[in-house]
Symmetry: C2
């Protein structure tokens, strides 16, 4: 949650003059998104989100992110619609940063997700995977298998002091994943960061997906694996089979997992847990003590990784193991 850049009302008015939008009534920096500066705009026609892209988002990736949102919104998914400038562009510049205006989605993210939320997010994710199939741009996943070893190497020396045996644990995990990562599964556009704070609900109905700034082309089932980690563990750290079942059944209500995807899910889930462990660990070590940011505990994801190691088949995530018969 962050506003890194403030903007003057004169700068903002000049910026918005290039957009086909109403007159400005108010703008507030909002505590959402950890990578960019976000403002909620009240204009006289509607509310919008203004995003200033800070240095962690590469400018050359913006056409992919914004184009994807537009593509998905046009296909009927509830996600923010980027507003074109009067000259047709999706990206402007404000306060020396690339900036975009997107529609504001009403809704609230579930702080305490229940199985009904998991079912809805599973279904919407599958719909997104289908809708992304004919999107014209591609972007490699910048936080995938090949990136985890360098990420670990950057934290390794400081991290060893945090927990005895951590070095061997991660070394073994990297070796396992490098040897066993699936290669021939269906791939396409994935969200790659579909945590509860990126999914809005109104009256228990999913009202929107946001924050496509990790979206990329990768294995579709890896997105499912991210969500198993992000949505299906209870506060005490235990896997919740009812949530897992709901997520997977929701997904399959829109797209059937192949036998290969079902078989690979425990490995993909280990990889997803490792990815969030490593990025959180990196941020944890890089954040000074006493800084006013919420440091997210990386070891939460190490515990999830350890759970996935115990998983034999997809049945352990809550749904029938019928995929085995078909493989």
């Amino acid at each position: 949650m962050a506003v890194y850049t403030d903007i003057t009302e004169a700068e903002l008015a000049a910026f918005l003059a290039d957009y086909p939008v109403g007159r400005m009534h108010a703008y507030k920096g909002i505590a959402e998104g950890v990578e960019n500066s976000n403002f909620l705009l009240h204009l006289d026609d509607a509310s919008y989100i203004l995003t200033l892209y800070e240095k962690r988002v590469a400018r050359e990736d913006l056409p992919f992110f914004l184009g994807l949102m537009e593509h998905l919104a046009e296909k009927g998914l509830s996600c923010p619609l980027p507003i074109h400038r009067n000259d047709g562009a999706l990206i402007g510049e404000l306060a020396g940063r690339p900036a975009a205006v997107i529609s504001f989605l009403e809704g609230m993210w579930p702080r305490d997700p229940a199985p009904r939320h998991c079912y809805a997010v599973g279904a919407e994710m599958a719909a997104m995977h289908r809708a992304g199939a004919d999107f014209g741009l591609t972007r490699a996943n910048a936080l995938s298998l090949a990136d985890w070893r360098p990420l670990w190497n950057a934290s390794r020396d400081d991290a060893r002091t945090l927990r005895p045996g951590l070095g061997d644990d991660i070394k073994g995990e990297l070796a396992f994943l490098e040897a066993n990562w699936p290669r021939d599964l269906p791939s396409g556009v994935i969200h790659a960061d579909l945590f509860p704070d990126n999914v809005f609900f109104l009256d228990d109905r999913l009202s929107g997906l946001i924050d496509f700034y990790f979206a990329c082309n990768d294995l579709l089932a890896y997105d499912v694996a991210v969500c198993l980690n992000a949505w299906c563990f209870s506060r005490d750290g235990a896997f919740d089979r009812a949530s897992g079942r709901a997520l997977l059944e929701g997904y399959e209500s829109e797209r059937t997992l192949t036998a290969g995807e079902r078989a690979a899910l425990p490995t993909l889930a280990r990889g997803a847990a490792l990815r969030f462990f490593l990025t959180r660990l990196y941020d944890w070590l890089a954040t000074p003590e006493g800084a006013f940011v919420v440091k997210k505990d990386p070891f939460e994801y190490l515990r999830r990784l350890h759970f996935h190691r115990t998983v034999g088949t997809i049945a352990d995530y809550g749904i029938d193991d019928e995929g085995d018969e078909a493989s």
Copy 2:
């Protein structure tokens, strides 16, 4: 700018059930106010601000702050209107903290105030002073003359290393202010923190005053002195006489300063500059290096204090010195 406390949508729905307001569509933590956690609420009837009072605001002061906003709004001033709960109370409890819902004011605070803004804020402040005259509650200023010496003592040892001669400078200033502080000027309810970020404009018209959490009973002209410091210095640190004149003429369009107030203004302005120097200095020394908060330079206010020492009469602030004849 801060959101210290997050709240779940279930907590918020339960909290709002006690208010006569519409159904919840969205809520966002906003980067506004340094003392409290603030959320912008989109309900189906209107937008509101929800404030959770963190530890720097004393619970026993809340009836004064919220009652004052209601009193002023009823008198026609544009300030947030606190919403009464169904049981009549203005203060509820949310996430273990006192909390209130107030109306959302459209408008934007001027990042680069011009004399027309200063005139408007002067006039609105005087209207506020008049409207506050029959407000029934009182609250002593917790950051007035008697509080400055203890505040300095708390920072003194660490502060001396920041600038040579600082100790003697502040010691001399405290002695001067304690000997010369005016005692018999008109007093009443003042805002006491009327900085640009607490004053909203729409199309150059003042649309609202916010953040009454330093409001108190004190000398009315002290509020003017705070604004001289907060509004009338240019970015290079020089006093801007056009802004000073506009502020004072705006004020006098609604309430005439007495001869005693005019004569005391330079002393009051020194005090106001010292107050903001001391609180910023305290925060500066208490904030760890590397923390992700904007540290406000305290020495900006020491330079303003030094300017006020050179002021002979109110004429140096930009308006005619007619008060001398009347005194």
